[in-house]
């Protein structure tokens, strides 16, 4: 058991931190947000030049072969900068699904280009009535000659407007279970409705009207994508925890600075004990979130097990609770200025609250953990 980063990991963290600091000031972010694409292709190019887009991808596909720990280091800095690029959904979640389910040909044809930052992926797995349960979907795949026809509606596909390939979940009309398909969003019958999310990144809804996909677009065995979706959502949760920690650290830093400089009643407001104790409580929760993020990063790539699922659920639960506390209290401690669009803190608050709406909020993960709660099989004699 050790909590130290090795030299390579420290370099990676420093590299991303520096790049984000130099190119992703809040003012710059606002320009990216307002731009037609809603993110910075230039920043993405720099990430790929530095090899950062390749970090989560296996070495055999020209990736860096990073583990959960490397993903954590990257995501934390992207979170600190409130970066708008779909790194999590493309490089971690979708890539993980392709690596786990894809055939050798599929992996070889997709992953090197993704590692190089030339091709973006995303996953369309949420529907109106799914709410973090990827098996609770209605989108259908009907077999046809040399392929399938997909019909249905997908919601809030992060990065879906930019993605070159979208991984779409659907039920088989002739069988059980959920399948994953590689979808070219330019295919006939696909329509996208795009919008910014309230916390910044762009997303779209997908309407699939009898969309033809070829036989080799099926990712993994038909009807058997659910375990891979669950496993990869676990990896995404771990990475998302890191993003939240980066954002929490920044929100906390801004708030602490504010308490030291804002004067009321003739002194810095940080002198008031009520506010000091609030900050101490936030610091405590931030510490727990950091610890669980490290735990999540370390188990994210472990083989699937109940213990892994419990730990990842506990991590997301802890981080979601801490995120909301720090978001709400940072705004509260700032007062009115924390409510304004022109101040970065407000955007951290939105990000921290809304990221719990992807891959499960605190209640969802409480339910997951509760279902997996270990009960001693045999009560001791005295109790039995």
């Amino acid at each position: 058991m050790n909590f130290e980063l090795n030299e390579e990991q420290q370099m990676l963290a420093d590299t991303v931190e520096r790049l984000v600091r130099n190119t992703y000031s809040f003012e710059q972010r606002e320009v990216f947000y307002q731009s037609s694409r809603g993110y910075s292709p230039e920043f993405w190019r720099q990430l790929s030049e530095l090899g950062i887009t390749s970090v989560p991808i296996a070495a055999e596909y020209e990736g860096f072969g990073g583990t959960g720990v490397e993903n954590m280091l990257v995501m934390k800095e992207l979170g600190r900068g409130l970066c708008l690029e779909p790194y999590l959904h493309s490089q971690i979640y979708a890539v993980g699904l392709v690596e786990q389910l894809g055939s050798a040909e599929q992996r070889q044809s997709i992953l090197p280009a993704v590692a190089a930052g030339e091709r973006l992926l995303t996953v369309a797995d949420e529907e109106a009535g799914s709410h973090y349960h990827p098996e609770a979907i209605e989108c259908q795949a009907v077999p046809c000659e040399r392929g399938w026809r997909l019909s249905g509606r997908k919601r809030v596909v992060i990065g879906g407007e930019l993605a070159h390939t979208i991984l779409v979940t659907a039920r088989m009309s002739d069988g059980e279970g959920v399948s994953l398909f590689l979808l070219d969003p330019a295919a006939e019958g696909v329509s996208r409705t795009s919008y910014p999310c309230i916390d910044g990144p762009r997303a779209c809804d997908l309407a699939l009207a009898d969309v033809y996909v070829e036989a080799d677009s099926l990712l993994g065995p038909a009807g058997k994508a659910a375990p891979a979706l669950a496993y990869q959502r676990g990896r995404a949760v771990a990475a998302q925890c890191a993003e939240a920690v980066g954002s929490m650290e920044e929100a906390f830093r801004l708030t602490l600075d504010y308490l030291k400089t804002r004067q009321q009643f003739g002194s810095p407001i940080g002198r008031f004990q009520a506010l000091q104790h609030r900050m101490a409580e936030m610091r405590g929760e931030l510490e727990l979130a950091r610890s669980m993020t490290i735990l999540a990063a370390c188990v994210a790539d472990d083989p699937d097990s109940e213990s892994r699922s419990r730990r990842l659920a506990a991590a997301k639960f802890t981080v979601a609770r801490a995120s909301q506390l720090i978001a709400e209290q940072s705004v509260q401690l700032h007062g009115g200025i924390g409510m304004t669009w022109e101040y970065s803190l407000a955007h951290h608050a939105k990000r921290l609250v809304m990221l719990t709406h992807q891959f499960g909020d605190d209640d969802f993960h409480l339910g997951q953990y509760s279902a997996l709660l270990e009960i001693p099989r045999q009560a001791s004699q005295q109790v039995a």
């Binding site: 130290e4 940080g270 979130a289 610890s291 370390c298 506990a314 953990y369 009560a379």
Partner: protein, 398 residues
Amino acid sequence: MDIHFTPEELTFRSEVRAFLEQNLPTDIAEKVRLGRRLAKEDHQRWQRILNQKGWYAVNWPEEYGGTGWSVVQKHIFDEECAAAGAPRLVAFGVNMVAPVIIKFGTQAQKDFYLPRILRSEDWWCQGYSEPGAGSDLASLKTRAERDGDHYLVNGQKTWTTLGQHANRIFCLVRTDPSAKKQEGISFLLIDMDTPGITVRPIITLDGEHEVNEVFFDNVRVPVENLVGEENKGWTCAKYLLTHERTGQAGIGQSKAALAHLKQIARAETVAGQPRIDDPLFRARIAELEMRLMAVEMSTLRILAATRDGGVPGAESSLLKIQGSEIRQAITDLMRKALGPNALPFLEPELEPDFHGEPLYQDYGASPASQYFNLRKLSIYGGSNEIQKNIIAKLVLEL
């Protein structure tokens, strides 16, 4: 970065577990599991067993009889001890005054006191709080005036835990009344048999005699019982407090308590349904277990960043707050698991020598009583509010 245990650490865990299976007296483990009170003799018996194995003074440097274990080994040891039902060690001697003597004491003090602590020949208690000095500890008034080669000690200490068992007390006393608050304080070792010392019990809300008042009336203490420099006792006090707080995270204890809570929630039924199958109650347990996991990870991270078992004041403050809150929350759920059956106040069932038939289940007497007893956790060792002040000042620099 890797949170998995190494093969060596797993072997160590098996070794500890095997030792506990063979050596932890079952009668003591049973009392601990059921939340009964422990007799002085119970504590001493267990301390001597540990010492025989060389596993008593876990936190001491090796040259004084410590184990030389890594922080992870210590954590594993604590966890296994708690899981097996070993009593939580009474810290005042082995884990509080001893580190201070090792750090600040003279050779003669080390030679005399440390072996006596190892052999459980001395039972130490702590003379810190006074009626007028609680959270504001530095306002203490107990005086020690130099009189030849003695100090003459006068004053009153309070909340002295298990002072009724003790033959020695370490005290913070005021040696320079004219100096500013923290600066005129000294750290003094006092023999409880010295004439002029009176111990009076304080009964707490759970009916237990755990704490005492200690009165000093012209008590003569040899000058060589001073630890460190005269008027520099606050340095010792602060050093000791960080040791005290580190232990207070009590992760192993909380894990054992949580396991016990699950047992109770399985055994207690409502309309035939175990409490653990009630989705709301189960979720409350799940929530606590997740929080405990987070506090455990934080504890490991903070301990890993230090070497000698003591941790910087600010971090130990966080651990103290979170560790105490979680233990309190566990006893809260234990009490609630019993519903109306938690109401009877069955004091005799809590006594160390109870061998009768319990009114309900054998675990039934303890939860409500424990719940009230453990309110102390967020009060002692510097209340949790004081810990937040420390964090605000030292970490946040507010």
